[in-house]
């Protein structure tokens, strides 16, 4: 697998660099990759379904949830295949279930973040990182309140604008660091130096 990854990666990289000549090759290979990605995703979903079916067959603790999953999956899949994925009624039902669930889940995150905010200093203690984090959070929370007419005061506006640029420094450093790490990891794949977990 390592050799295949290295060979295919090097060939594709070369095709990217010589793009005007190899653009059709790129087109074909990327089509293969798209189909393969879709199959991989389908295999993952199938594994999930099979796992839950196994839980039900064995009678594992919590198989009720597996029953719910299988039932909803089967209903969604069967109706989608029969009526088509663009059917209006079908999409209404999907929207009616998925939209409130996901929205409520993200709203729950806001409630959980309240307890995280009160614990963060108790858990992490006082350090440069936590103090700067706390002060920055307070500042931006205050700026987002919109209580004060900042835009009307030029000095205040300049100060606020400068303050809003402060996260750029850290974000840029994080982006460059993450990018360097990703490039090194990708180069290791191309050179066949993938580290396998023992």
């Amino acid at each position: 697998m390592v050799v295949i990854a290295a060979v295919s990666g090097i060939l594709f990289l070369a095709a990217l660099f010589f793009q005007p000549i190899t653009s059709s090759y790129l087109n074909v290979v990327l089509n293969w990759a798209i189909v393969l990605t879709a199959i991989t995703l389908l295999v993952a979903i199938s594994n999930l379904v099979i796992t839950h079916l196994r839980y039900i067959a064995v009678g594992r603790r919590g198989f009720l949830f597996s029953l719910v999953f299988i039932a909803t999956f089967a209903a969604t899949f069967v109706f989608g295949i029969l009526r088509g994925s663009d059917d209006t009624q079908y999409l209404r039902w999907i929207k009616a279930i998925q939209l409130p669930l996901e929205t409520a889940l993200l709203g729950l995150l806001a409630l959980v973040m309240m307890s995280a905010a009160i614990k963060i200093f108790r858990v992490r203690g006082w350090s440069i990182l936590t103090v700067s984090f706390g002060l920055s959070a307070l500042l931006f929370l205050f700026l987002n309140l919109g209580f004060f007419p900042i835009a009307q005061n030029s000095t205040l506006f300049v100060v606020v604008t400068a303050l809003q640029k402060l996260p750029v420094v850290g974000a840029r450093g994080l982006l460059i660091g993450a990018a360097l790490g990703a490039v090194i990891a990708a180069l290791r794949v191309l050179f066949g130096q993938v580290v396998e977990n023992e």
Partner: protein
């Protein structure tokens, strides 16, 4: 027969309340709600993949057999068969071929994209902030711009140094120098500021979702008042 919209709204409200029941602890209702979400999401994704990807891109080109597009379409079919074999055999080495192909392709894309799309522009942006046209205004130095440029350069280097210094001090037993600790501290300050901004942004997004969800419930309740 009740209005379908009302029924769907009721279903949405009930599901929202089931999710919020997590505040009382992990319970049956929350679990059912999560597994309903997982089932619907997985089912709909599978439907879209089958109807909009597999059939039109893998099966339908075979109709042109034995033309070149049909022959080329056999390659992903072969890859798919090898990938499917991994489902039935625990230690299937055949699945390594398509997965290796994908891994190599993604690695090559990463190298090209990161180099062109992030590393070069971001580093050039730091350098370009020292552009004379920016740091000099009307023949006089623009101290604000200079200060911002230096802050940007110092901050980025300090952030990168903090991660490097942190990994190094974790592995070594030697006590680091004071100036190294100080420079690492500067990096921590900028990282803390960024994390604070990200924290507020995340809370803002979650708060918006919470407001929308509660609004839906309140509107439903108002229907019956």
């Amino acid at each position: 027969m009740p209005d379908l919209n009302l029924l769907l709204t009721l279903a949405g409200v009930v599901l929202s309340l089931m999710v919020f029941s997590y505040l009382l602890g992990d319970n049956l209702f929350f679990g059912i709600a999560m597994y309903i979400l997982a089932g619907v999401s997985a089912g709909y994704t599978a439907v879209v993949l089958v109807t909009k990807v597999i059939i039109p891109m893998m099966i339908m080109p075979l109709a042109d057999f034995p033309q070149i597009p049909a022959l080329l379409a056999l390659v992903p079919i072969l890859f798919s068969i090898l990938l499917l074999s991994a489902m039935f055999t625990k230690s299937s080495k055949a699945a390594g071929l398509p997965l290796g192909f994908l891994a190599g392709l993604l690695a090559a894309l990463s190298i090209a994209g990161i180099a062109r799309g992030t590393l070069a522009p971001q580093l050039l942006s730091i350098v370009n902030s020292f552009d004379p046209q920016l740091v000099v205004s009307e023949g006089l130095p623009n101290w604000t711009a200079i200060f911002q440029a230096f802050m940007m350069l110092l901050g980025v280097i300090a952030v990168l140094f903090y991660f490097h210094h942190r990994s190094k001090t974790k592995n070594s037993l030697q006590s680091p120098d004071l100036w190294l600790d100080g420079f690492s501290g500067v990096g921590q300050v900028f990282i803390g500021i960024t994390f604070g901004a990200v924290f507020v942004g995340l809370f803002g997004t979650a708060l918006s979702a919470l407001i929308a969800s509660l609004n839906r419930i309140i509107d439903f309740v108002r229907l019956w008042i």
